[in-house]
């Protein structure tokens, strides 16, 4: 308890004071609904552009419209893994509890986006390539990324001691992050070696600007959604981890009073 107070005094008004779970908890509570609202608005605009404004693709017809969900989900799944590994590294180096909680709050969302990217990809592949799945480099590395997410989640869930869970999870996240480029390039090379395949993911480079706009807006919506969900999840994690402290008791009492 003493060290926590000292730390707060030392940091004073610096931005680092939000590294304390107690300080971050209310901030996350304020920000999360705003990001959720933003995500809803952006998704509505993006989907409207995607389904009603963007022109029909002359090669793929209406099927291509799945990219408005597929591409942002794929981007997000990769980005979240990097952010997760970043927070894991920060946690290991600076020994901040909140960083580990942030990493753990992000993992399920990353896995979800990974799954969405694979699922929508399969739905797109069926009419376009005539098959739900090909062992294409991108598909395969996305699948392996999903396994990396699942491994991280499974490991942090399997360890009961939260301190050990944090650190063990951080190590596997970092090992995974080192391996992601290796996996990506090896899979790509493997694929090009074996190929002879008729299917390629490369599309025509030019893209109608409304299509691009819709996709970018959907990507922003995915960002906002990730922020909102991660903040909510980290709030639950903070409450769970800090349940022995006085401020959590006071906070819960206050919430009960409101309800």
């Amino acid at each position: 308890m003493m060290t926590e107070t000292q730390e707060r005094l030392r940091h004073g008004r610096s931005i680092l004071r939000f590294a304390a779970p107690q300080m971050f908890y209310p901030v996350a509570g304020v920000l999360a609904p705003w990001f959720a609202g933003l995500a809803a608005v952006l998704a509505a605009i993006g989907l409207w552009i995607g389904f009603f404004v963007a022109p029909t693709d002359f090669q793929q017809g209406e099927v291509y419209r799945v990219i408005f969900i597929h591409v942002p989900a794929a981007w997000m799944s990769m980005l979240i893994y990097l952010v997760m590994a970043f927070w894991a590294a920060v946690g290991l180096v600076m020994n901040t509890r909140l960083s580990f909680m942030m990493a753990q709050a992000l993992a399920p969302t990353g896995a979800m986006f990974c799954f969405v990217a694979l699922w929508t990809g399969a739905l797109w592949g069926r009419p376009t390539w005539g098959t739900y799945w090909v062992w294409d480099a991108r598909l395969t590395s996305q699948l392996l990324l999903l396994f990396l997410y699942l491994g991280y989640i499974a490991l942090t869930q399997a360890i009961e001691d939260s301190r050990r869970a944090d650190r063990a999870g951080a190590i596997i996240a970092l090992v995974g992050a080192v391996n992601v480029p290796i996996i990506y390039f090896s899979v790509q090379w493997w694929n090009t070696l074996h190929q002879g395949a008729s299917v390629s993911l490369t599309r025509a480079p030019s893209m109608a600007s409304t299509m691009l706009a819709g996709m970018l807006i959907m990507a922003l919506a995915a960002w906002a959604y990730t922020f909102a969900v991660a903040f909510w999840r980290v709030r639950s994690l903070i409450l769970e981890r800090e349940r022995h402290t006085e401020w959590v008791g006071a906070e819960l009492d206050a919430q009960e009073g409101k309800a």
């Binding site: 990396l148 491994g151 499974a154 490991l155 050990r164 190590i171 970092l174 090992v175 070696l193």
Partner: protein, 226 residues
């Protein structure tokens, strides 16, 4: 200087090898598993010679990967149970040093027999004789990478309930590049492009894993014990 480093390294290596030698039956199970898995494939896919020849490198490599996985839990579990691991961590010797020694001993005991058995098994699949050398070399370079990466996973899951399945989930995705280049080396040789590039990449991967994995493993062990 060198003696100061080699001394503890060799001591741990010798100890682990001796322990393995005294419990030979345990070790042979891994080899038996490897052989049986390889022999199951013709029953599954049919005994057509051309087909067997085509899948042989992949089958041998996947089987090597699975048997490595199966043996990994033994790497630290016994020492963890009897307290040796704690004593090693408390000792003044660098953790990375004896971790490397333990992984080396583990590979000699479980990996090396697979490498030696592989050419014989490849003959069952009617693999071209010239490719046997490439296959053995690829396994000799690749299986230590599996042991090193697996050691990190074994340290992270030390003493956990359901650790074995969890270990598989953690390390199998990381094994994929090794599998690709390992099995790819033989395919490239048979395809006429030459296996040099694959083998060099495997060698590079081995050096990289040797440089980095012991540190991750040491950190994981400290987390598991504290």
């Amino acid at each position: 200087m060198l003696k100061g480093i080699l001394g503890p390294f060799l001591a741990v290596l010798r100890r682990d090898l001796m322990l393995a030698w005294r419990g030979r039956a345990d070790v042979l199970v891994t080899l038996a598993f490897f052989i049986i898995v390889v022999c199951l494939f013709p029953f599954g896919v049919g005994a057509e010679t051309n087909q067997l020849r085509a899948i042989a490198p992949g089958v041998l490599w996947v089987a090597a990967l699975l048997s490595t996985l199966l043996s990994l839990h033994r790497l630290f579990a016994q020492d963890h149970a009897d307290g040796t691991l704690e004593q090693l961590l408390l000792s003044p010797e660098p953790t990375v040093l004896w971790v490397t020694a333990k992984v080396s001993a583990h590979w000699i005991v479980t990996g090396l027999p697979l490498v030696l058995a592989a050419p014989g098994l490849a003959l069952l699949f009617d693999v071209e004789q010239g490719a046997l050398g490439v296959l053995t070399l690829s396994l000799a370079l690749g299986s230590p990478i599996l042991a090193l990466l697996g050691a990190v996973g074994a340290a992270l899951t030390l003493g956990l309930r359901g650790g074995g399945v969890l270990l598989a989930l953690l390390v199998l995705p990381l094994f994929v590049p090794v599998l690709i280049f390992g099995a790819g080396a033989v395919d490239a040789y048979l395809g006429g492009t030459g296996a040099t590039a694959h083998l060099l990449l495997l060698g590079g991967g081995l050096l990289g894993a040797l440089a980095l994995a012991p540190f991750a493993c040491a950190a994981a062990l400290r987390i598991a014990i504290e």
